[in-house]
Protein backbone atom coordinates (compact mmCIF):
# COMPACT_ATOMS: atom_id res chain seq x y z
CA UNK A 1 0.00 0.00 0.00
CA UNK A 2 2.90 2.35 0.70
CA UNK A 3 4.34 1.33 -2.64
CA UNK A 4 6.13 4.17 -4.41
CA UNK A 5 8.07 3.88 -7.65
CA UNK A 6 10.86 6.12 -9.00
CA UNK A 7 9.58 8.09 -12.00
CA UNK A 8 11.40 10.55 -14.26
CA UNK A 9 9.83 13.98 -14.61
CA UNK A 10 9.34 14.86 -18.29
CA UNK A 11 7.39 18.10 -17.97
CA UNK A 12 6.05 20.22 -15.14
CA UNK A 13 2.67 21.80 -15.69
CA UNK A 14 1.59 23.87 -12.70
CA UNK A 15 0.64 21.57 -9.83
CA UNK A 16 1.10 18.41 -11.83
CA UNK A 17 3.80 16.76 -13.91
CA UNK A 18 4.09 14.30 -16.73
CA UNK A 19 6.36 11.50 -15.50
CA UNK A 20 7.69 8.27 -17.00
CA UNK A 21 8.23 4.83 -15.52
CA UNK A 22 9.99 2.60 -18.05
CA UNK A 23 8.11 3.51 -21.25
CA UNK A 24 4.81 4.43 -19.68
CA UNK A 25 3.66 7.98 -19.04
CA UNK A 26 1.75 8.95 -15.90
CA UNK A 27 0.38 12.13 -14.44
CA UNK A 28 1.81 13.00 -11.05
CA UNK A 29 0.27 15.54 -8.72
CA UNK A 30 2.84 17.96 -7.29
CA UNK A 31 0.55 19.15 -4.48
CA UNK A 32 2.89 17.57 -1.92
CA UNK A 33 6.24 18.65 -3.34
CA UNK A 34 7.85 21.99 -4.20
CA UNK A 35 10.69 22.79 -6.58
CA UNK A 36 10.43 19.93 -9.04
CA UNK A 37 11.80 20.33 -12.56
CA UNK A 38 12.11 18.26 -15.73
CA UNK A 39 14.83 15.63 -15.41
CA UNK A 40 14.31 15.05 -11.67
CA UNK A 41 13.32 11.65 -10.37
CA UNK A 42 10.42 11.55 -7.93
CA UNK A 43 8.81 8.75 -5.94
CA UNK A 44 5.31 8.25 -7.33
CA UNK A 45 2.68 7.00 -4.87
CA UNK A 46 -0.98 6.65 -5.91
CA UNK A 47 -0.73 9.52 -8.38
CA UNK A 48 1.31 11.89 -6.19
CA UNK A 49 4.99 12.73 -6.17
CA UNK A 50 5.82 12.30 -2.48
CA UNK A 51 9.58 12.87 -2.45
CA UNK A 52 12.42 13.74 -4.76
CA UNK A 53 15.15 11.14 -5.33
CA UNK A 54 18.55 12.53 -4.35
CA UNK A 55 21.11 11.45 -6.93
CA UNK A 56 24.17 12.28 -4.82
CA UNK A 57 22.90 10.21 -1.92
CA UNK A 58 22.10 7.35 -4.28
CA UNK A 59 25.65 7.40 -5.64
CA UNK A 60 27.10 7.50 -2.11
CA UNK A 61 24.97 4.50 -1.02
CA UNK A 62 26.06 2.61 -4.12
CA UNK A 63 29.71 3.42 -3.42
CA UNK A 64 29.39 1.92 0.09
CA UNK A 65 27.71 -1.18 -1.30
CA UNK A 66 30.43 -1.72 -3.88
CA UNK A 67 32.99 -1.48 -1.04
CA UNK A 68 31.17 -4.24 0.83
CA UNK A 69 31.03 -6.35 -2.32
CA UNK A 70 34.79 -5.91 -2.94
CA UNK A 71 35.56 -7.15 0.56
CA UNK A 72 33.42 -10.22 0.01
CA UNK A 73 34.30 -11.69 -3.40
CA UNK A 74 32.42 -14.83 -4.35
Amino acid sequence: MCLAIPAKVIRVDGASALVMIEDTEYNASLLLLDDIKAGDYVMLHAGFAIQKVDEEEAIETMRLLIEVEKHNPE
Binding site: M1, C2, L3, A4, I5, P6, K8, S29, L31, L32, L33, D34, Y41, M43, H45, A46, G47, F48, I50, Q51, V53, D54, E55, E57, A58, I59, E60, T61, M62, L64, L65, I66, V68, E69, K70, H71, N72, P73, E74
Partner: protein, 359 residues
Protein backbone atom coordinates in the same frame (compact mmCIF):
# COMPACT_ATOMS: atom_id res chain seq x y z
CA UNK B 1 20.64 5.79 -12.58
CA UNK B 2 17.06 4.62 -12.79
CA UNK B 3 16.96 3.65 -9.11
CA UNK B 4 15.60 0.12 -9.61
CA UNK B 5 17.91 -2.24 -11.51
CA UNK B 6 21.02 -1.03 -9.68
CA UNK B 7 19.52 -2.29 -6.45
CA UNK B 8 18.75 -5.76 -7.76
CA UNK B 9 22.29 -6.77 -8.75
CA UNK B 10 23.13 -10.29 -7.66
CA UNK B 11 26.79 -9.60 -6.85
CA UNK B 12 25.91 -6.71 -4.58
CA UNK B 13 23.26 -8.75 -2.76
CA UNK B 14 25.63 -11.67 -2.27
CA UNK B 15 28.42 -9.36 -1.12
CA UNK B 16 26.21 -7.90 1.61
CA UNK B 17 25.00 -11.39 2.51
CA UNK B 18 28.61 -12.52 3.07
CA UNK B 19 29.35 -9.45 5.18
CA UNK B 20 26.29 -10.15 7.34
CA UNK B 21 27.41 -13.77 7.86
CA UNK B 22 30.86 -12.52 8.83
CA UNK B 23 29.79 -10.05 11.52
CA UNK B 24 26.59 -11.61 12.92
CA UNK B 25 27.37 -13.67 16.01
CA UNK B 26 24.38 -13.38 18.35
CA UNK B 27 20.76 -14.47 17.92
CA UNK B 28 18.82 -11.46 16.64
CA UNK B 29 15.17 -10.88 15.74
CA UNK B 30 14.22 -8.04 13.43
CA UNK B 31 10.74 -6.94 12.47
CA UNK B 32 10.03 -5.60 9.02
CA UNK B 33 7.10 -3.32 9.76
CA UNK B 34 5.98 -2.68 6.21
CA UNK B 35 4.04 -5.12 4.03
CA UNK B 36 6.14 -3.97 1.08
CA UNK B 37 9.25 -5.17 2.91
CA UNK B 38 7.66 -8.55 3.63
CA UNK B 39 6.94 -8.88 -0.08
CA UNK B 40 10.50 -7.95 -1.08
CA UNK B 41 12.04 -10.47 1.34
CA UNK B 42 9.97 -13.37 0.00
CA UNK B 43 9.89 -12.31 -3.63
CA UNK B 44 13.68 -12.20 -3.79
CA UNK B 45 14.23 -15.06 -1.30
CA UNK B 46 16.39 -12.85 0.93
CA UNK B 47 15.75 -15.00 4.03
CA UNK B 48 17.74 -17.77 2.33
CA UNK B 49 20.76 -15.45 2.25
CA UNK B 50 20.85 -14.89 6.01
CA UNK B 51 22.55 -17.04 8.65
CA UNK B 52 20.21 -19.08 10.91
CA UNK B 53 20.76 -16.77 13.93
CA UNK B 54 18.93 -13.89 12.17
CA UNK B 55 15.17 -14.08 12.48
CA UNK B 56 12.80 -11.88 10.48
CA UNK B 57 9.27 -11.21 11.72
CA UNK B 58 6.51 -9.58 9.71
CA UNK B 59 4.78 -6.62 11.31
CA UNK B 60 1.53 -4.67 11.15
CA UNK B 61 2.36 -2.47 8.16
CA UNK B 62 -0.41 -3.59 5.83
CA UNK B 63 -3.23 -1.03 6.05
CA UNK B 64 -5.83 -3.35 4.52
CA UNK B 65 -4.92 -6.04 7.05
CA UNK B 66 -5.11 -3.88 10.16
CA UNK B 67 -8.19 -1.86 9.25
CA UNK B 68 -10.54 -4.58 10.34
CA UNK B 69 -13.98 -5.67 9.37
CA UNK B 70 -15.86 -2.75 10.88
CA UNK B 71 -14.36 -0.37 8.35
CA UNK B 72 -15.44 -2.62 5.47
CA UNK B 73 -18.90 -3.09 6.98
CA UNK B 74 -19.25 0.70 7.28
CA UNK B 75 -18.08 1.20 3.68
CA UNK B 76 -20.65 -1.35 2.50
CA UNK B 77 -23.38 0.41 4.48
CA UNK B 78 -22.43 3.70 2.79
CA UNK B 79 -22.52 2.07 -0.65
CA UNK B 80 -26.13 1.14 0.03
CA UNK B 81 -27.15 4.72 0.89
CA UNK B 82 -29.29 6.11 -1.95
CA UNK B 83 -27.35 8.53 -4.16
CA UNK B 84 -23.89 7.55 -2.99
CA UNK B 85 -20.81 6.75 -5.06
CA UNK B 86 -17.97 4.99 -3.25
CA UNK B 87 -14.43 5.57 -4.53
CA UNK B 88 -11.64 3.33 -3.27
CA UNK B 89 -8.13 2.08 -3.97
CA UNK B 90 -8.25 -1.39 -5.52
CA UNK B 91 -6.69 -2.95 -2.42
CA UNK B 92 -9.95 -2.83 -0.47
CA UNK B 93 -12.39 -4.19 -2.98
CA UNK B 94 -12.09 -7.88 -2.13
CA UNK B 95 -11.71 -7.67 1.65
CA UNK B 96 -14.51 -9.71 3.25
CA UNK B 97 -16.77 -7.79 5.60
CA UNK B 98 -18.96 -9.70 8.02
CA UNK B 99 -21.60 -10.54 5.39
CA UNK B 100 -20.41 -9.12 2.06
CA UNK B 101 -17.54 -7.33 0.31
CA UNK B 102 -17.32 -4.19 -1.81
CA UNK B 103 -16.77 -6.43 -4.84
CA UNK B 104 -20.02 -8.30 -4.19
CA UNK B 105 -21.89 -5.04 -3.59
CA UNK B 106 -20.54 -3.65 -6.87
CA UNK B 107 -21.68 -6.78 -8.70
CA UNK B 108 -25.05 -6.30 -7.00
CA UNK B 109 -25.39 -2.86 -8.56
CA UNK B 110 -23.97 -0.41 -6.00
CA UNK B 111 -21.91 2.41 -7.49
CA UNK B 112 -18.40 1.55 -6.29
CA UNK B 113 -15.45 2.79 -8.35
CA UNK B 114 -11.77 1.95 -8.11
CA UNK B 115 -9.49 4.96 -8.40
CA UNK B 116 -5.72 5.11 -8.84
CA UNK B 117 -5.51 8.58 -7.28
CA UNK B 118 -7.84 10.09 -4.67
CA UNK B 119 -8.03 13.19 -6.91
CA UNK B 120 -10.14 11.19 -9.38
CA UNK B 121 -12.86 11.24 -6.71
CA UNK B 122 -13.08 15.01 -7.09
CA UNK B 123 -13.67 14.78 -10.83
CA UNK B 124 -16.33 12.13 -10.22
CA UNK B 125 -17.96 14.47 -7.68
CA UNK B 126 -17.94 17.37 -10.18
CA UNK B 127 -19.50 15.18 -12.89
CA UNK B 128 -22.21 13.88 -10.54
CA UNK B 129 -23.53 16.93 -8.71
CA UNK B 130 -26.62 15.10 -7.43
CA UNK B 131 -24.60 12.30 -5.82
CA UNK B 132 -22.47 12.03 -2.71
CA UNK B 133 -18.97 10.75 -3.45
CA UNK B 134 -17.42 9.00 -0.45
CA UNK B 135 -13.72 8.10 -0.64
CA UNK B 136 -12.44 5.26 1.53
CA UNK B 137 -9.33 6.75 3.13
CA UNK B 138 -6.91 4.00 4.02
CA UNK B 139 -3.17 3.90 4.57
CA UNK B 140 -0.44 5.24 6.83
CA UNK B 141 1.52 8.49 6.82
CA UNK B 142 2.58 7.81 3.20
CA UNK B 143 -0.99 7.85 1.92
CA UNK B 144 -2.88 10.08 4.38
CA UNK B 145 -1.33 13.33 2.99
CA UNK B 146 -2.83 12.47 -0.42
CA UNK B 147 -6.29 12.37 1.16
CA UNK B 148 -5.50 15.63 2.94
CA UNK B 149 -4.48 17.20 -0.39
CA UNK B 150 -7.78 16.08 -1.95
CA UNK B 151 -9.80 17.62 0.89
CA UNK B 152 -7.81 20.84 0.56
CA UNK B 153 -8.52 20.85 -3.19
CA UNK B 154 -12.22 20.19 -2.62
CA UNK B 155 -12.29 23.13 -0.22
CA UNK B 156 -10.54 25.42 -2.71
CA UNK B 157 -12.76 24.39 -5.61
CA UNK B 158 -15.86 24.40 -3.43
CA UNK B 159 -16.72 20.77 -4.20
CA UNK B 160 -19.33 20.00 -1.56
CA UNK B 161 -20.46 16.49 -2.50
CA UNK B 162 -17.14 14.84 -1.60
CA UNK B 163 -16.32 13.29 1.75
CA UNK B 164 -13.91 10.77 3.25
CA UNK B 165 -14.40 7.76 5.49
CA UNK B 166 -11.05 7.79 7.26
CA UNK B 167 -9.28 4.67 8.42
CA UNK B 168 -5.92 6.37 8.11
CA UNK B 169 -3.44 5.33 10.75
CA UNK B 170 0.01 6.32 11.99
CA UNK B 171 2.94 3.99 12.63
CA UNK B 172 4.85 5.01 15.79
CA UNK B 173 2.13 4.11 18.36
CA UNK B 174 1.66 0.60 16.95
CA UNK B 175 5.41 -0.03 16.86
CA UNK B 176 5.60 0.91 20.55
CA UNK B 177 2.45 -1.08 21.38
CA UNK B 178 4.01 -4.21 19.89
CA UNK B 179 7.09 -3.88 22.05
CA UNK B 180 5.01 -3.20 25.18
CA UNK B 181 2.87 -6.17 24.20
CA UNK B 182 5.88 -8.44 24.59
CA UNK B 183 6.88 -9.06 20.99
CA UNK B 184 10.53 -10.04 21.28
CA UNK B 185 12.60 -8.11 18.79
CA UNK B 186 15.95 -6.36 18.77
CA UNK B 187 15.26 -3.89 16.02
CA UNK B 188 12.96 -2.59 13.34
CA UNK B 189 13.45 -2.47 9.60
CA UNK B 190 11.47 0.78 9.42
CA UNK B 191 9.12 1.78 6.60
CA UNK B 192 10.91 3.88 3.97
CA UNK B 193 8.00 5.71 2.42
CA UNK B 194 6.27 6.50 5.73
CA UNK B 195 9.55 8.04 6.88
CA UNK B 196 9.96 9.92 3.58
CA UNK B 197 6.92 11.89 4.75
CA UNK B 198 7.40 12.01 8.54
CA UNK B 199 11.17 12.30 8.83
CA UNK B 200 13.24 10.23 11.23
CA UNK B 201 12.24 11.96 14.48
CA UNK B 202 9.29 9.63 15.03
CA UNK B 203 11.59 6.74 16.01
CA UNK B 204 13.57 8.52 18.73
CA UNK B 205 11.53 6.91 21.51
CA UNK B 206 12.12 3.42 20.21
CA UNK B 207 15.87 3.70 20.66
CA UNK B 208 15.89 5.93 23.73
CA UNK B 209 13.11 4.26 25.76
CA UNK B 210 13.18 0.71 24.43
CA UNK B 211 16.81 0.28 23.34
CA UNK B 212 15.85 -0.91 19.88
CA UNK B 213 17.75 -0.39 16.66
CA UNK B 214 15.86 1.30 13.83
CA UNK B 215 17.02 1.38 10.22
CA UNK B 216 14.80 3.09 7.67
CA UNK B 217 14.93 0.91 4.59
CA UNK B 218 14.26 1.06 0.87
CA UNK B 219 12.34 -1.69 -0.88
CA UNK B 220 14.77 -3.21 -3.35
CA UNK B 221 16.67 -6.37 -2.39
CA UNK B 222 20.01 -4.60 -1.96
CA UNK B 223 18.29 -2.00 0.24
CA UNK B 224 16.81 -4.68 2.47
CA UNK B 225 20.08 -6.57 2.81
CA UNK B 226 22.02 -3.41 3.61
CA UNK B 227 19.44 -2.47 6.25
CA UNK B 228 19.79 -5.89 7.88
CA UNK B 229 23.57 -5.47 7.83
CA UNK B 230 23.26 -2.06 9.52
CA UNK B 231 20.93 -3.45 12.22
CA UNK B 232 23.22 -6.42 12.87
CA UNK B 233 26.23 -4.09 13.13
CA UNK B 234 24.39 -1.88 15.65
CA UNK B 235 23.31 -4.89 17.66
CA UNK B 236 26.72 -6.57 17.74
CA UNK B 237 28.27 -3.27 18.87
CA UNK B 238 25.54 -2.82 21.52
CA UNK B 239 24.70 0.61 20.08
CA UNK B 240 21.08 0.79 18.95
CA UNK B 241 20.19 3.97 17.11
CA UNK B 242 18.12 5.44 14.31
CA UNK B 243 19.84 5.18 10.93
CA UNK B 244 18.68 5.67 7.38
CA UNK B 245 19.66 3.18 4.69
CA UNK B 246 17.22 4.74 2.19
CA UNK B 247 19.27 7.94 1.90
CA UNK B 248 18.22 8.66 -1.66
CA UNK B 249 14.57 9.20 -0.62
CA UNK B 250 14.45 9.82 3.14
CA UNK B 251 15.52 13.15 4.62
CA UNK B 252 15.84 13.72 8.34
CA UNK B 253 13.07 16.33 8.23
CA UNK B 254 10.80 14.31 5.90
CA UNK B 255 8.44 16.13 3.56
CA UNK B 256 7.36 19.40 5.25
CA UNK B 257 4.67 20.22 2.66
CA UNK B 258 2.97 16.86 3.23
CA UNK B 259 3.30 17.14 7.02
CA UNK B 260 1.73 20.60 7.04
CA UNK B 261 -1.23 19.44 4.98
CA UNK B 262 -1.64 16.32 7.10
CA UNK B 263 -1.78 18.39 10.28
CA UNK B 264 -4.12 20.91 8.77
CA UNK B 265 -6.71 18.31 7.78
CA UNK B 266 -6.30 15.52 10.33
CA UNK B 267 -5.95 15.10 14.08
CA UNK B 268 -5.04 12.02 16.08
CA UNK B 269 -7.69 9.73 17.52
CA UNK B 270 -7.69 6.45 19.43
CA UNK B 271 -8.08 3.73 16.84
CA UNK B 272 -8.75 0.00 16.56
CA UNK B 273 -6.21 -2.30 14.92
CA UNK B 274 -7.01 -5.84 13.93
CA UNK B 275 -5.30 -8.17 16.38
CA UNK B 276 -4.03 -5.35 18.55
CA UNK B 277 -7.24 -3.72 19.75
CA UNK B 278 -7.56 -0.07 20.67
CA UNK B 279 -4.29 1.88 20.50
CA UNK B 280 -4.35 5.44 21.87
CA UNK B 281 -3.73 8.21 19.34
CA UNK B 282 -2.91 5.82 16.52
CA UNK B 283 -5.53 6.87 13.96
CA UNK B 284 -6.34 10.00 11.98
CA UNK B 285 -9.72 11.73 11.90
CA UNK B 286 -10.75 14.81 10.00
CA UNK B 287 -10.58 17.97 12.11
CA UNK B 288 -13.92 19.39 13.33
CA UNK B 289 -13.53 22.54 11.20
CA UNK B 290 -13.62 20.36 8.10
CA UNK B 291 -16.43 18.05 9.20
CA UNK B 292 -18.37 18.65 5.97
CA UNK B 293 -15.72 16.40 4.39
CA UNK B 294 -16.03 13.77 7.11
CA UNK B 295 -18.39 11.01 5.94
CA UNK B 296 -18.96 9.85 9.51
CA UNK B 297 -20.21 13.33 10.46
CA UNK B 298 -22.22 13.86 7.28
CA UNK B 299 -23.86 10.43 7.16
CA UNK B 300 -23.99 9.04 10.69
CA UNK B 301 -24.72 5.32 10.61
CA UNK B 302 -24.84 2.72 13.36
CA UNK B 303 -22.88 -0.25 12.07
CA UNK B 304 -22.60 -3.12 14.57
CA UNK B 305 -19.07 -4.23 15.50
CA UNK B 306 -18.55 -7.64 13.92
CA UNK B 307 -16.47 -10.48 15.30
CA UNK B 308 -13.37 -11.56 13.37
CA UNK B 309 -13.70 -14.67 11.16
CA UNK B 310 -13.51 -17.92 13.10
CA UNK B 311 -10.15 -19.69 13.13
CA UNK B 312 -8.33 -16.78 11.42
CA UNK B 313 -5.06 -15.87 13.19
CA UNK B 314 -4.41 -12.70 11.15
CA UNK B 315 -4.21 -10.73 14.42
CA UNK B 316 -1.40 -12.90 15.80
CA UNK B 317 0.43 -12.79 12.47
CA UNK B 318 0.24 -8.97 12.45
CA UNK B 319 2.00 -8.97 15.82
CA UNK B 320 4.75 -11.28 14.59
CA UNK B 321 3.66 -13.96 17.09
CA UNK B 322 2.72 -16.60 14.50
CA UNK B 323 3.50 -17.26 10.87
CA UNK B 324 0.87 -18.24 8.27
CA UNK B 325 2.33 -21.77 8.28
CA UNK B 326 0.93 -22.15 11.81
CA UNK B 327 -2.63 -21.35 10.74
CA UNK B 328 -5.05 -24.26 10.23
CA UNK B 329 -6.89 -22.37 7.49
CA UNK B 330 -3.80 -21.40 5.46
CA UNK B 331 -3.82 -22.88 1.93
CA UNK B 332 -6.82 -25.01 2.86
CA UNK B 333 -9.92 -22.97 3.59
CA UNK B 334 -8.06 -19.67 3.09
CA UNK B 335 -6.50 -18.86 -0.30
CA UNK B 336 -6.07 -15.65 -2.32
CA UNK B 337 -9.05 -16.56 -4.53
CA UNK B 338 -11.24 -17.31 -1.51
CA UNK B 339 -9.72 -15.48 1.45
CA UNK B 340 -10.99 -15.79 5.02
CA UNK B 341 -8.98 -12.96 6.57
CA UNK B 342 -7.48 -9.68 5.45
CA UNK B 343 -3.87 -10.95 5.68
CA UNK B 344 -4.69 -13.17 2.68
CA UNK B 345 -6.61 -10.52 0.70
CA UNK B 346 -4.07 -7.77 0.43
CA UNK B 347 -1.21 -8.56 -1.97
CA UNK B 348 1.17 -7.30 0.74
CA UNK B 349 -0.54 -9.26 3.51
CA UNK B 350 1.82 -11.76 5.12
CA UNK B 351 -0.46 -14.71 4.27
CA UNK B 352 -0.78 -13.72 0.61
CA UNK B 353 2.99 -13.27 0.41
CA UNK B 354 3.62 -16.69 1.96
CA UNK B 355 1.05 -18.25 -0.38
CA UNK B 356 2.62 -16.74 -3.46
CA UNK B 357 6.30 -17.26 -2.72
CA UNK B 358 6.56 -20.10 -0.23
CA UNK B 359 3.97 -22.64 -1.36
Amino acid sequence: MKYIDEYRKKDLILGVSEEIKKISKKEISLMEVCGGHTMAIHRFGLHFLLPPNIHLLSGPGCPVCVSGQHFIDTAIAYSRLPGSIITTYGDLIRVPGSASSLEKEKAGGQDIRIVYSVLESLEIAVKNPGKNVIFLGIGFETTAPLTAAAIEEALKRNIRNFSVLSSHKVMPPVMKALVRDGVKINGFIAPGHVTAITGTGIYKDLTESFGLGVVVSGFEPVDMMQSILMLVAQFEAGKPRVEVQYQRVVREEGNPVAQKLLNKVFELKDDRWRGLGLIPLSGLKIRPGLSSFDAEKMFPLEVPVASEPKGCICGLILRGLKTPLECRLFQKKCTPSDPVGACMVSAEGTCATYYKYRS
